[in-house]
Symmetry: C2
Subunit: 218 residues, 2 copies
DNA sequence: ACATTATTTTAGTCTTGTCTAAAATAATAT
DNA sequence: ATATTATTTTAGACAAGACTAAAATAATGT
């Protein structure tokens, strides 16, 4: 149906337009896809021709319903494959992304339907991100940034805001994984750092870390 | 490392040079890949530049050891994915090929290593074809065409020579699947057709069929 | 041996997706 | 209001991988 390149542009726009009400800028897409603005302009014209996005010169772009459907399906495939890699093939959560970037472009509706079944219809990927259903709907989980907790509050770790290898490996090193209970013992006002309890360990984490960890308050 | 297109050419040459001692012809490759001879000439020059094949004008081509390694690895991936689709995702043997054609190009050594483990190190794919190991070696199974059996001989069905959807679905319809015991009850000399027993059923099959079914004699 | 046919290669073109450099437009600052 | 800067688009080029048509070479038949 569509080329891998087209799919990657749709996916980028899908992620970029979340939570913003104006069009996604050419430069934003270029940065996300590590390409040049001129290349983006070219592709954006093609996607517009195919009614996947709305595009007016200098105005940025937004997905049509059709485009949204295609894009969310790529995200769905990406996240299902990530679950597969972690649950069935012993990958760790910092190893799955690059492979999923390839697998998400495999074309076979039956494959994804059966994979979904095989995995037991997961709703979230290994990073806590929701998996869209066939219609693109996603089950929003109520979550807050760890940095928003105050002293003596606690919650379960349910996701990350930054999925980079570096950050995920850092969390592993500190013993922070999804499902763990975190309690805020102290909060330093001057730098926003937290002194937390996780398992039997107490540790101090910077504001940069707590701004990238999602918690389900309890 | 290599593009999907390059990998497809290498795989085609790999399959075509089995059992022949002279170079694989341009036309043979073109036919297998459903492309034009001129396109093949172009690609063959590139692969030759990269030391994947030996090519001299008008002489046909053959894989170098390096090319053979790359090609057998694609075949390995193709067949492991076919096993996965049948064993884990409820695909039937006539549905797996097209998806495997895509999956074989996914680049991740860890993925294949873990898939192999997950599947229990299978040696053959759903069509009875051997799965090359990491070094390209394949475990040859002794097998004969069903058409070579004589009256009252029998054997286990271990593979197909034709993996087309049509043929595989025909076999399903007749209840012929890998692992089944087949006994030749009668052999007609004038058309080579066989009257065989499989399970409790007796049926007649044409020479065209028996020429595409591999049997392990017993 | 030579004419005919089949195969392979070359030459030139096209599409996709990228790039650089330059031009056009929009946003911002004085 | 105008100058400066930032963003976006256009123009032109390139590489990969395909194609058609024509030329070159090899194979075959008489
Ligand atoms: Mn990912
Ligand atoms: Mn993810
Ligand atoms: Mn196959
Ligand atoms: Mn097979």
């Amino acid at each position: 149906m569509f080329t891998s390149s087209e799919e990657n542009y749709l996916k980028a726009i899908y992620h970029l337009e979340i939570g913003v009400d104006k069009g996604v800028s050419t430069n934003a897409i270029a940065e996300k896809l590590v390409t040049k603005a001129s290349s983006v302009t070219d592709m954006v014209k093609k996607l517009s021709e195919k009614e996947l996005i709305i595009y007016k010169k200098y105005q940025g772009v937004s997905l049509t319903n059709f485009g949204k459907k295609i894009a969310s399906n790529i995200v769905r495939k990406h996240r299902l494959w990530e679950v597969f890699l972690v649950e069935k093939l012993n990958f760790s959560w910092d190893e799955v992304h690059d492979v999923a970037e390839q697998l998400e472009h495999i074309k076979s509706p039956k494959l994804i339907q059966q994979l979904d079944l095989f995995l037991g219809f997961p709703t979230h990927d290994p990073h806590g991100d929701p998996i869209p259903d066939k219609d693109g709907n996603l089950k929003a989980i109520e979550k807050s940034l760890l940095s928003s907790l105050i002293k003596n509050e606690s919650g379960i770790c349910v996701g990350v805001n930054d999925s980079s290898k570096d950050f995920l490996q850092f969390l592993d090193k500190k013993g922070i994984t999804l499902g763990k209970l975190i309690t805020v013992l102290e909060k330093e006002d001057f730098d926003g750092s937290l002194f937390i309890q996780i398992d039997r360990k107490k540790l101090s984490i910077s504001n940069k870390i707590s701004n990238n960890l999602y918690i389900k308050k309890q």
